[in-house]
């Protein structure tokens, strides 16, 4: 996965509470294949909020405002990503182009899935989030900075807000290590275990 260190990008305000993973990645899109180098889940992201029943963009939906085109930061309402554990929700966020989510709180499994995919969920107090919304709306297309090394979010008004993150998760995002990468750091132990294990249990089935 792509490491996350610091990101300066256009930020979009999404002032809706409890957007669940079913809204982020609706059920009927769960069989879309993913190809290297393609953003196959880009249109899935918040599909029914962004598009009407004829698949035309809803002009009044915030992310369809041309000012937010290319946004890589989304400032969300409370409980973004609650609901089912579907991993396509994180794919949709990533393929839409987002690298950081800022909100008062996130669905637990969803947040874990995001970090597996190099997306940083930042938790800030609701008052701070509301202030960010206010600034972003007053100057649509403003940029913000999310710095994981410093653990700060810099608002459009240049005020810096620090945030907390689990140190293990921070380390992994900074180095671009996903769960498989972490496990494979133990590869010498795994291989040593397997040699001894195979010696003790030679009868275990092997397929071909």
């Amino acid at each position: 996965m792509t490491p996350f260190t610091s990101l300066t990008a256009i930020a979009a305000p999404l002032e809706i509470a409890k957007i669940d993973t079913g809204m982020i990645s609706p059920g009927r899109f769960q069989r879309i294949r993913r190809r290297p180098g393609h953003a196959d889940y880009a249109d899935v992201f918040l599909h029914d909020l962004r598009f009407d029943e004829h698949d035309r963009p809803r002009p009044d939906f915030v992310l369809n405002d041309p000012a937010y085109r290319g946004a890589q930061i989304l400032v969300t309402g409370p409980d973004f990503g609650c609901g089912s554990s579907r991993e396509t929700a994180a794919y949709a966020v990533l393929d839409y182009g987002l690298r950081a989510l800022i909100g008062p709180g996130f669905g637990d499994i969803f947040a874990g899935n995001c970090m597996q995919n190099g997306i940083l969920p930042v938790v800030l107090p609701i008052e701070t989030v509301q202030e960010l919304w206010r600034q972003l709306k007053s100057a649509p297309g403003s940029t913000m900075t999310v710095d994981l090394r410093e653990q700060t979010v810099t608002a459009p008004d240049r005020a810096a807000h620090s945030f907390e993150i689990d140190p293990t998760r921070r380390e992994r995002l900074l180095s671009g290590l996903d769960d498989v990468g972490v496990t494979l750091q133990h590869l010498p132990q795994i291989e040593a275990f397997e040699r001894e294990y195979q010696r003790r249990k030679p009868w275990l089935p092997r397929l071909s």
Binding site: R31, R33, S85, G112, N113, T168, D179, Q189, W203, S208
Partner: protein, 481 residues
């Protein structure tokens, strides 16, 4: 002297590669390693449902399958239950055909062993693991399916994993991070009354402890009733551990297990067999082992069970009536029963044995092994089904065995359809579904809203009870036939 240990603790410790430094911290949904041990996976079984995302992710990451010889892909969920010799291309529905073809493509691309739709060994994953002798005592087995616990009946530690990210982790590393669950022993003692089967035992357990009753616990089923059971019956019990809230269910291996395994295609042979059996005999929980929870069931008090609601815990002996929500212990339970009865179109106080059914389904990883088909055939022999009914054997091997015994004739003469092995109408992934509002008697494991199709109404029960329902057209106490 070592402390007495449970079977779970013994098998678990044999597979720990990296022990958690903080075993008392909570697990983080499999994503964080705090509180979790890194375990070696002896065998990973996977099917076509949802796993294409795991392979897509591996490809995007440029990763390979680390130990293909310890994995087996099996096509089961999306397979037509009608004749299918023409291969995947003959599946009319493109969405279903795609999923089948994707697994074919992915197993070729990643070099994974695969039992595809026209393989003579094909079957439902949880049926053929034991049937092929792949599932052996003491093994740690993962599978991207909530009914993985089925295989614990062989004395294995079999755990469900997620179909995309977690599947990909197992494929890429042949390991899994897991927090050791608590242990719960359910002891069933005594002789089962006539026509009371493993399915009735597990439904009785679930109706007592509820669908969340064993959450966070690995269940060990013990006691004289279990010891007297065949492997097929034990597989049925362990299968529905997840409907009791337990991701893991297991039975200690014994002579019945060894006898079942010996001579099967992947079972050890010669000196390896002796070595294996010697080890397998050490796996049972020690006499003094302490479990976090205990539950005892008197087998002699049990009766044939049927479900009446929209959760497996909504099950009662067939002799009872549809419950009255107002007699529920609390308001939440009362509301849930009201909603369930509304969905099921049932009136409180109606005798369960008067509920008419539209269809009968005998199949699934719960109840489609040879003994299940024999039990159902014994009921229908010489009789006629008065509603559409079908039998979908749990594996192509089971189908062949049943045909060798002439069971297919018994079913066909009774008006049942005799189909090809598939997961079929259990969850309807292959298109075998009930119509909206239809009511089934089904040998499956879940009666959730919409499980057998949108608006479908499912009553779950044993194969003999489902067969009896086909003969009378209503839920029926098989003992009265």
């Amino acid at each position: 002297m070592t402390l007495p240990r449970t079977m779970l603790e013994k098998i678990w410790s044999e597979h720990v590669i990296v022990a958690s430094a903080h075993p008392d911290l909570p697990a983080q949904g499999g994503k964080e390693q705090r509180g979790e041990d890194l375990l070696a996976v002896d065998l990973n079984l996977l099917h076509e449902g949802g796993t294409f995302l795991a392979f897509d992710q591996l490809r995007i990451e440029g990763r390979k399958v680390r130990s293909p010889e310890r994995n087996l892909a099996i096509t089961d969920h999306y397979l037509p239950s009608l004749p299918r010799a023409a291969g995947p291309g003959s599946i009319a529905n493109p969405a279903i055909r795609n999923v089948v073809e994707w697994l074919d493509q992915h197993t070729r691309e990643f070099g994974l062993p695969h039992i595809g739709m026209n393989d003579a060994r094909q079957g439902i994953t949880h049926v053929i693991g034991p049937e092929l002798g792949l599932t052996q005592p003491g093994m740690l087995i993962t599978c991207c399916d909530s009914h993985t616990a089925t295989q614990g009946a062989m004395g294995a530690l079999a755990m469900p994993i997620g179909q995309s990210n977690q599947e990909r982790h197992v494929l890429a590393t042949q390991t899994i991070w897991q927090k050791k669950p608590k242990t719960m022993r359910i002891t069933i003692d005594g002789a089962l009354p006539p026509h009371v089967t493993a399915k009735d035992v597990i439904l009785a357990i679930i109706s007592r402890i509820g669908i969340g009753g064993a959450i966070g616990h690995a269940i060990e089923y013990a006691g004289s009733t279990i010891r007297a059971m065949s492997i097929e019956a034990r597989l049925t019990i362990c299968n529905m551990s997840i409907e009791a809230g337990g991701r893991i269910g297991m039975v200690a291996p014994d002579e019945t297990t060894f006898e079942y395994l010996q001579g099967r295609p992947y079972a050890p042979r010669g000196a390896d067999w002796d070595l294996a059996v010697r080890h397998w005999r050490t796996l049972a929980s020690d006499a003094e082992a302490v479990f976090d929870r205990e539950l005892s069931i008197d087998a002699s008090t049990l009766a044939p069970m049927v479900s009446w609601g929209t959760s497996p815990e909504d099950s009662s002996p067939i002799t009872q009536c549809v419950p009255d929500p107002s007699s529920a212990a609390d308001l939440e339970r009362r509301r849930r029963i009201e909603r369930a009865l509304e969905y099921m179109a049932l009136t409180p106080g109606t005798p369960l044995s008067s509920i008419a059914v539209d269809r009968v389904f005998i199949g699934s990883c719960t109840n489609a092994r040879i003994e299940d088909l024999r039990a159902a055939a014994a009921v229908v022999r010489g009789r006629r089904s008065v509603v559409p009914a079908m039998v979908v054997p749990g594996s192509t091997g089971v189908k062949g065995q049943a045909e060798a015994e002439g069971l297919h004739r018994v079913f066909e003469q009774a008006g049942f359809e005799w189909r090809e092995s598939s997961c079929s109408m259990c969850g309807g992934s292959n298109g075998d579904m009930l119509e909206r509002g239809q009511r089934s008697a089904s040998t499956t494991n879940r009666n959730f809203e919409g499980r057998q199709g949108p608006g479908a109404r499912t009553h779950i029960m044993s194969p003999a009870m489902a067969a009896a329902a086909a003969i009378t057209g209503r839920l029926t106490d098989v003992r009265t036939l």
